[in-house]
Amino acid sequence: MLAMNFRGPFRVRADRNRPYPEIKHPQDAIVRVTRSCICGSDLHLYHGLVPDTRVGMTFGHEFTGVVEELGSAVTNLKVGDHVMVPFNIACGACPFCQQQLFGNCHESNPQATAVAGIYGYSHTAGGYDGGQAEYVRVPYANVGPTIIPQGMDLDDAVLLTDVVPTGYQAAEMGGIQKGDTVVVFGAGPVGIMAAKCAWLFGAGRVIVIDHIDYRLEFVRNYAQCEAYNFKELGDVVVFLKKTTGWFGADVCIDAVGCDAAGDAFQSLVGRKLPLTGGSATALHWAINSVKKGGIVSIVGVYGPLDTLVPIGNVVNKGITIRANQASVKRLLPTLIDHVMSGRLNPKAIISHRLPLEEVAEGYHIFSAKRDNCIKPVLIPPHARA
């Protein structure tokens, strides 16, 4: 079958000779992919920042597809169902799944205890081949896959597998109270969605920080918020203090993660060498720009190594840090409702629809921010008719 094939940092290809996935467990399903996104998280793999990313793996954790085949113990789905598949692989039975911490399942990743299994996200996240392919194996199919409601656009559905829940949870973890000033670092798909969702929790003011003008322009319109280019601000923290009456924001959200720009030293030790869990520039700014007793919500992804953050300021300011992988399945009922009722319009962030065959171009355009790219979606041949 046709699938993305990782060959090394900055090198991927569309490979026609990948083996079809097989049922390996009674709760498995095989899904024929209809839409598959490239995510900012994939860029961390693409840039070589995630340990144990093996040559030959297929990436892709945001996909929709039609159920082709079912293991003997799958009871919640039938062949032919069109489903969206949350990026977390979750058993539904372990203590963490029972608490709806589906991003923290204990039975889906042998390689690391610190993260649950994620489709196509290196062996550090379980060693699963992902959805940038024609077909994909979906474990624990009773738990994750969710039937796409009638009338929902596929492009909306595919964004419900990660970007929308992640942006939403970023705002949720901010514990936003009505009237709060919320600062979102990063105007990528996740930051854009976090800014949009901050209003749903009653934010009084939403400010987005990035350094890519076309994205700032987009988020300003899409999320009706203020948006600033940190390259033009001088000291970002001083700017944010000043604009919040010198107190700091009530809530700061890190929607950037380990590829953050803006600080030469962080970039050197976090991205170039890399000796740390990533460049933590945005997180550093978040901690220093939030008010005393404020909340910092982190959805940006970092590697497993130690990361440089001003932890002393966290203590002295009495900051609460809340962070996690998004628990997609937990949030889907709420978010399906927001999409169906028109409160959220995820598909508007899709800037590129590419055939799966052009996966290498897709990665490059998204990574290098060419052609005003915000969110690329790959469409396999059989879904293009």
């Binding site: 030959g56 029972q98 608490q99 911490l101 990743n109 042998p110 390689q111 379980g126 171009e361």
Partner: protein, 186 residues
């Protein structure tokens, strides 16, 4: 050798006492639980609060996926998780490095740094494997430079021109040096 100074792990763990509230000394502690407040839970609403973990850690595990490929597992868990991915099992030199890395916990640099090293070695193995299968890697296509040609032609052309100029200069210098050497020979 590795374990010389570490306590015997099993002796250090009193598993029966973990989350076994009946065995806890609570009845002998004045004021036990007096300030407990179920609302003091910063994980709301991310965590669906359904009782304390001490009631939850004996769960019915899903069936074990048959382990028919080599799966490295973190030493911070007793074995392989019930389900796992079967993509790209460890092979070659990178595989040997990965096996070694998995002797150390996720809490150590000895685990992660070798894994990063293995990833780089794996890239070279990938080139060799491609050639073995008659595939000549095409870095131009794999790096998506067709898109660069379409959307950022000027700077692509500039970068390629600089590359060619540097390569050209290097060739010239080498030629010069060869000439010098030849002169000495003569």
């Amino acid at each position: 050798m590795e374990n010389r100074n570490k306590p015997e792990p099993d002796k250090a763990i009193e598993a029966d006492n973990d989350r076994n509230i009946a065995n806890s000394p609570k009845d002998h502690i004045p004021g036990w639980g007096i300030d407990a407040n179920p609302e003091n839970d910063p994980t709301y609403p991310m965590k669906n609060w359904n009782g304390a973990d001490y009631q939850r850690f004996n769960y019915d595990k899903p069936t074990q996926q048959p382990i028919d490929v080599e799966v490295l597992h973190s030493i911070e868990r007793p074995g392989v998780s019930r389900v796992f991915g079967t993509s790209t099992p460890p092979t070659g030199i990178s595989g040997a490095i990965r096996r070694w890395a998995f002797k150390y916990s996720e809490s150590t640099y000895l685990h992660w740094v070798p894994l990063v090293l293995a990833d780089r070695v794996n890239v070279i193995e990938g080139y060799i494997d491609d050639l073995k299968h008659g595939i000549v890697p095409n870095p131009f296509a794999e790096r998506g430079w067709q898109a660069e040609w379409k959307y950022n032609r000027k700077s692509l052309v500039k970068n390629v021109a600089i590359g060619v100029a540097i390569a050209g200069a290097a060739v010239l210098i080498m030629k010069q040096q060869n000439k010098k050497k030849k002169r000495y020979v003569m």
